[in-house]
Amino acid sequence: MKRNNLILYGALLVFGLLAPFLFPAFKLQISFMWILVILALTWDVQGGQMGYNTFGNILFFGIGMYICASTQIGLFFPLEEWTASGGEKTFLHTPSQYFLGLSAGLVLAGIVPVVVAALIGYGILGLRGHYFAICTLGLGIAAGELAGGIEIIGAGQGMTAPPWPKGIGDTEFRSEFFYFLTFITMLATFTFLRWAYQRRFGLVLNAIRDNEDKAEAMGIHTMRYKILGWMVSAFFVGIAGGLVGNMVGYIEPTEIAFAGATYGVFMILMAILGGKGTLWGPVIGAMVFHIFKEGFWTFFLGWQYVALGVLIVVIVIFFPEGIMGWLREKFPERFGEVVDEADRKAQVVLK
């Protein structure tokens, strides 16, 4: 059991490290896959482990994206003139400026969403069930609409992220650089969540999911843990947002930053597809979903979103337990469940 796990981790790590050299043409796609893994993992903190089905984690994604790009630009140039100049690159970062700006931007892209989550968490996380779901849905869309009205970050036209500085490497090097940045962020997210789920934090989240009132009655400050969980999600999602902003190079309020209809739904769908409430489920779900998306999207040319809508309905109705749930039913021993054969035979299917 343990050895198998080690082999699995090792294989994935080797794949992650070698992938950009093995499949140089798919570097960008695989980077986006790691981004999706981050999104699914962090959605699962709320949706799976805590039982709070949020549509609003995209809020932190967009905030991180805008904060990162604004910091990268604002540190060295006037932000207003940059966004006003639109696509024309009148300002150029030197390499040292670029990397300084990028690191500062990514740090802030992690911190600011955490602060936002802490500030709004007390109000929003007091809602439950579908009220929470609809409220967070409104939150994400409201943020997109409001960002579309703020002039300094480009309003509805959006803004450009700083281009790769001249003088160090070509576009190949750029995509390798961002590949490893996303891969490391994904590893950090996974390791952190794996560590956290094994601690009291994970137990409390599961207790909240199973019965919040009882958990509270046992003396757990559920609200603190809910906010803490949201802050953890916000941190990693914010960094992922900052990275995506740089990888895409162009930030638009409702289609890219606060993209409720793409990343916002993807993260939920991937976690459910993989199996929510498990550590590996979101990872597997995100990989399967991304491979499906990239592989088949071109066949549906123009019809991708129709396919997406059908996919959502089908997965949600016929496959709500996800891949991990299905595996668990098939091979319960592998999941550490003790199966009593006589008991299983005695079970009657209830209709």
Partner: protein, 297 residues
């Protein structure tokens, strides 16, 4: 920020009248939302898309040369069957399940419908011209398109008709019985499956009426459905399920709020202000309830 409305107070009359007339349509959609929520315990994210689809049916009639006002009759009939079909295909599988499943499934339907409408009707903003003319009030200071007055009247007629139908008819009684206790209704011989299908169909038909009215008073676009869903959700949670005067009042209140935010903040913040208001109302109610150690559920 634009404070013109405070400098020219007559604009307040204009905004209030516009908002109230618009709010009646919101209330009509919200009534459908409350109906399916109360009976089937489902929150339908695709509500707004059904409204827009109903509007496009009226618009298609307009393109074919029929006056779009007849859409008020045609669109609910078509939408009833679309709603019924939707129920048979998808909704009947999510009725008894976790609420989030129904939210997500209808969210999928909403994305699907948006895209299909985008293919069929194009991504342009369209409006069906009713040529009803305008009414001028207060020395020509306030302009009211007759189409808006017409749509508000039709909306009221449909709402009253539906209330009477729910009170008097056999199906209406069956629907109310099912919403009170589905199990007991089943025991007493009500075919709840049929009741659910009819409820969803009636909801879709109401959306069809509202959509047809919106097509002559406002604009249609494949992607503007979600705000209608959120508005109706908001109206229902302010008024509560089954509180009809409350639904009408909060619908008109929401309409007036939107028109005022339009004038003060600018049109680009209109949708944003609706969604922000939703978040604020939910958070406000959460704090009110948490004093009594209760929560919204």
């Amino acid at each position: 920020m634009d404070l013109l409305i405070f400098q020219v107070p007559i604009l307040m009359v204009q905004a209030s009248l516009d908002g109230a007339l618009l709010g009646i349509l919101f209330a009509l959609i919200a009534y459908g939302m409350a109906l399916q929520w109360g009976v089937m315990n489902i929150i339908n994210i695709a509500q707004g898309e059904m409204v827009i689809l109903g509007g496009y049916i009226a618009y298609t009639m307009y393109v074919m040369g029929i006056h779009p006002a007849y859409g008020v009759i045609v669109s609910p009939i078509i939408m009833y069957f679309i709603g019924w079909l939707l129920y048979k295909l998808v909704i009947n599988r999510v009725v008894d399940r976790d609420l989030f499943i129904s939210i997500l499934a209808t969210f999928g339907i909403s994305i699907l419908t948006q895209q299909l409408m985008n293919f069929i009707f194009g991504a342009d903003v369209v409006v069906a011209q009713s040529n009803f003319g305008t009414t001028l009030l207060f020395d020509d200071m306030v302009t009211l398109p007759n189409a808006k007055i017409f749509s508000a009247l039709i909306g009221i007629i449909f709402a009253i008709g539906l209330v009477l139908y729910m009170k008097k008819s056999k199906l209406g009684r069956a629907i109310r019985a099912t919403s009170q206790n589905a199990r007991a209704a089943k025991i007493l011989g009500i075919d709840t499956e049929r009741v659910y299908a009819a409820t969803f169909g009636i909801n879709a038909a109401l959306c069809g009426v509202a959509g047809a009215l919106i097509s002559i008073t406002f604009t249609l676009h494949p992607y503007v459905g979600l705000p209608y869903t959120v508005r109706s959700f908001m109206i229902v949670i302010i008024a509560g399920l089954g509180n009809l005067p409350g639904v009408a009042l909060s619908g008109m209140g929401l309409g007036v709020f939107e028109e005022f935010s339009d004038y003060i903040l600018g049109t680009e913040f209109r949708i944003g202000s609706v969604f922000t208001l939703l978040v604020l109302i939910l958070v406000y109610r959460r704090f009110r309830l948490s004093r009594k150690r209760e929560y919204l559920e």
